[in-house]
């Protein structure tokens, strides 16, 4: 057990920073303010190579950046904010990390403990506010508590089903002194993330797998969180079972693999959705049967037994009644299963997926990715970028139509190479997430696809890109609309485009103001050359591409429909 004891007394603020260093943290995203000043004051003395603080332009940006940093590095992200508005500005970011199970430690400052409850300046009950969207939260009012609580926070955030933890530290606790003594937390009596596998469950699952004739794997974010990509690959190659992916599961299994069946859900691929209701066995790994994946639950997986492998017990049989619940870590379960399943192949079943792919290619993909006339389509842009980067870039998205186009048409090759807001669907996530991803993986190209609406929700983070000279590539897919909402208005609200059309600023001029190279593409003829120019640029670059104003994303499972009712147009 790592143990560090320092004899001289230090402030609570310094103890916090030392605790972070003990936890192998070297990057913090944050924004200072009154109550957190003692922490920033101590930060001033710590060398940048030990703790590098990234000053964003808004606390929400810091929260999203910390989450993206955690997703690309596999480490726990850290984010600082002051009391009151600093803390409340984090809430969207905390909720986003919570719904997508990403480990981030949020440190908020609180007014001096004697003032709590008095409606003091910048006092807010962030514990009460963040309780429903954190895995755990705690308020520190005594400096002595700091090392112990920080180690507990890291243990909780990173283990089991990961998630955000918020620690609120009063200003007096930051200023009091303590003898620093750090011990890593490895056990809590009320929380056990290490679940022993039940051999009987593994055995029954293997029997079902070995007897299935039309099996399908549903791969979720849990594969990436448990770092089980290799085990999944081994399992798939042995069993010959096709793999469909959830939005957050994308990049867990390489898109170019012959057994990759495509994206599940509302705007997913035709094959995996149709085949969900033809399959006789679904093997769901680290996913939670979100309504965007299942469509109408009453008509979901109508012919299939379901094996659900999931680390969070509360997800088992929450939305879908399953036949075999395997409560455990995806990596451990797959390791155990591999030995008990037979080598197999399903040529007939797979040829059905191929037929579906052909139908989708003819009805959707051809027009979307290879159009010969009309305005530029989102699909062709994503497809071009995918080809030019060989599926090797880290791709960031915001939320909306461009997000679905990216999920559908980028061929992800490496794990954790899609950073997107899944469960919460947070517009404004993209730009700050690009900041966090680039800082986490400075040597990998980071390309953010963002809509013209979402870009303006966190546009101020261009300042962070400027300050830290981050060579991120920003592609604005501009249709002058809140495209996804407009698509629903088109399809379900008689084309009554209430408050979805945007009058946009000159994004090129804005980029220039932030010293970011920029260009605008209107015609298809200049698309490729502009993309090449952007990719070749060694600094940050903003490429605004004017796309079809009223393009819709298809296929689509309409709300209330079954997965097998997926529409191609």
């Amino acid at each position: 057990m790592a143990k560090t004891i320092k004899k001289e007394k230090i402030t609570g603020a310094k103890a916090l920073l030392y605790s972070l260093i003990e936890e192998n943290v070297n990057t913090i995203f944050g924004y200072p303010g009154g109550a957190i000043m003692p922490i920033y004051n101590e930060l001033y003395d710590i060398e940048d190579n030990k703790l590098n603080h990234i000053l964003t332009r808004h606390e929400q940006g810091a929260a999203h950046a910390a989450q993206a940093y955690a997703m690309v590095t596999g480490k726990t992200g850290v984010c600082f904010a002051t009391s009151g508005p600093g803390a409340t500005n984090l809430v969207t970011g905390i909720a986003n990390a919570f719904l997508d199970s990403v480990p981030v430690i949020f440190i908020t400052a609180q007014v001096t403990s004697t003032l709590i409850g008095s409606d003091a300046f910048q006092e807010t009950d962030i514990l009460g506010i963040s309780m429903p969207v954190t895995k755990w939260n705690y308020q520190i009012t005594q400096a002595e508590e700091i090392p112990k609580i920080i180690s507990k926070a890291f243990y909780i955030a990173g283990s089991g089903r990961p998630g955000p933890v918020l620690i609120d530290i009063t200003k007096d606790a930051q200023m009091q002194t303590l003898a620093f003594n750090y011990q890593k937390c490895t056990h809590l009596r009320s929380y056990n993330p290490n679940i022993p596998l039940n051999p009987a469950d593994i055995e029954s699952a293997a029997i079902l797998i070995n007897h299935a004739r039309k099996p399908l794997i549903l791969a979720g974010h849990g594969i990436l969180l448990s770092k089980a990509e290799k085990e999944l690959m081994a399992f798939v190659e042995k069993t010959g079972i096709p793999v469909a992916s959830t939005l957050l599961g994308l990049s867990a299994f390489p898109a170019k693999h012959p057994l990759y069946a495509g994206l599940l859900g509302m705007h997913g691929n035709y094959g995996p959705n149709i085949k969900t209701n033809e399959a006789d066995l679904l093997i769901a790994i680290g996913m939670r049967f979100d309504d965007r994946v299942t469509g109408d639950l009453k008509r979901y997986a109508t012919n299939a037994n379901i094996i659900h492998i999931e680390i969070d017990k509360s997800e088992l049989s929450k939305n879908v009644e399953v036949d075999i619940e395997i409560h455990g870590d995806a990596k451990e379960v797959l390791k155990a299963l591999i030995d008990q399943v037979n080598a197999n192949s399903y040529p007939e079943w797979l040829s059905g997926f191929k037929s579906c792919n052909k139908i989708e290619a003819n009805k959707v993909i051809k027009q979307e990715c290879y159009p010969s006339h009309g305005k530029i389509r989102m699909g062709e842009i994503v497809n071009l970028i995918s080809e030019k980067t060989l599926g090797e870039a880290i791709i960031i998205t915001d939320v909306g139509q461009h997000q679905m186009a990216t999920a559908r048409y980028y061929k992800f090759n490496n794990p954790n190479s899609l950073i997107t807001s899944g469960g919460l669907g947070t517009m404004g996530f993209g730009l700050p997430a690009a900041v966090g991803a680039k800082i986490g993986k400075p040597n990998v190209p980071v390309i953010a696809f963002i809509g013209d609406g979402g870009f303006q929700m966190t546009i101020q983070e261009l300042g962070t890109i400027l300050q830290y000279k981050l060579p991120v590539k920003i592609i604005i897919l501009n249709n002058n609309f809140l495209g996804m909402v407009r698509q629903w208005q088109d399809m379900f609200f008689d084309k009554r485009y209430a408050s979805t059309e945007l009058v946009n600023p000159d994004f090129i001029k804005i980029a220039e103001g932030f010293d970011i190279s920029a260009s605008r593409v209107i015609e298809r003829e200049t698309l490729e050359i502009s993309i090449d120019e952007m990719l070749a640029c060694e600094k940050s670059y903003l490429l605004e591409i004017m796309v079809e104003k009223e393009g819709n994303i298809f296929p689509m499972i309409e709300p209330g429909s079954s997965v097998s009712e997926i529409k191609l147009c």
């Binding site: 514990l127 009460g128 309780m131 429903p132 895995k135 755990w136 308020q139 909780i156 809590l188 009596r189 009320s190 929380y191 639950l297 009453k298 969070d312 017990k313 509360s314 088992l316 049989s317 929450k318 879908v320 009644e321």
Partner: protein, 166 residues
């Protein structure tokens, strides 16, 4: 999938760390699912340092299972048990405040108290306080019987429960 929509009464026993805010963490799980808490009691448990909450709710079998798993997911919760009424011995306590002058008028209140296995907890020249333990139905029955004589105050505790299982 068709869920059983029949509601019934469940008693949930939670063993938790004795931390500030634990009750809030627990109750928001019910709030979010639109489940009203019928009664709640918090106390020390038989194990030192571990707190026990006893919560009574009306909901469906399906929902209570989800709530149980969600409660168990809370970091500061050690264990959650869900029981139907036939699996537990449970009790509530109720207090009733009645004007002393009403008692003096006849011996009716006294006989109600006797026949209900209740007792006088406090007698002053102005008022008397009657105490009754039992199930909700028992304490409600007594309330109804005393009602014609003017109940000034009535209060019932949360349920406390112990399992029959050894």
């Amino acid at each position: 999938m068709i869920f059983n929509t029949m509601k019934k009464e469940f008693t949930i026993s939670l063993f938790t760390e004795h931390h500030i805010g634990i009750l809030n963490q627990v109750t928001i799980i019910f709030t979010r699912r639109q489940i009203n808490i019928e009664s709640i009691a918090a106390s020390a448990s038989a194990v030192k340092g571990i707190h026990k909450l006893t919560i009574v709710v009306n909901t469906t079998e399906d929902m209570i299972g989800k709530v149980q798993r969600h409660l168990e997911k809370l970091i500061d919760v050690l264990k959650v048990f869900v029981h139907t009424n036939d699996e537990i011995i449970y009790q509530e306590i109720a207090l009733y405040k009645v004007q002393t002058t009403e008692i003096m008028k006849s011996n009716k209140i006294e006989s109600i108290v006797r026949s209900s296995n209740a007792r006088f907890l406090e007698i002053t020249p102005e008022y008397v306080v009657i105490e009754k333990t039992g199930h909700k139905q028992d304490t409600t029955d007594l309330l109804n019987k005393l009602d014609p004589y003017g109940v000034l105050q009535f209060v019932r505790s949360g349920r406390v429960a112990i399992t029959k299982q050894t």
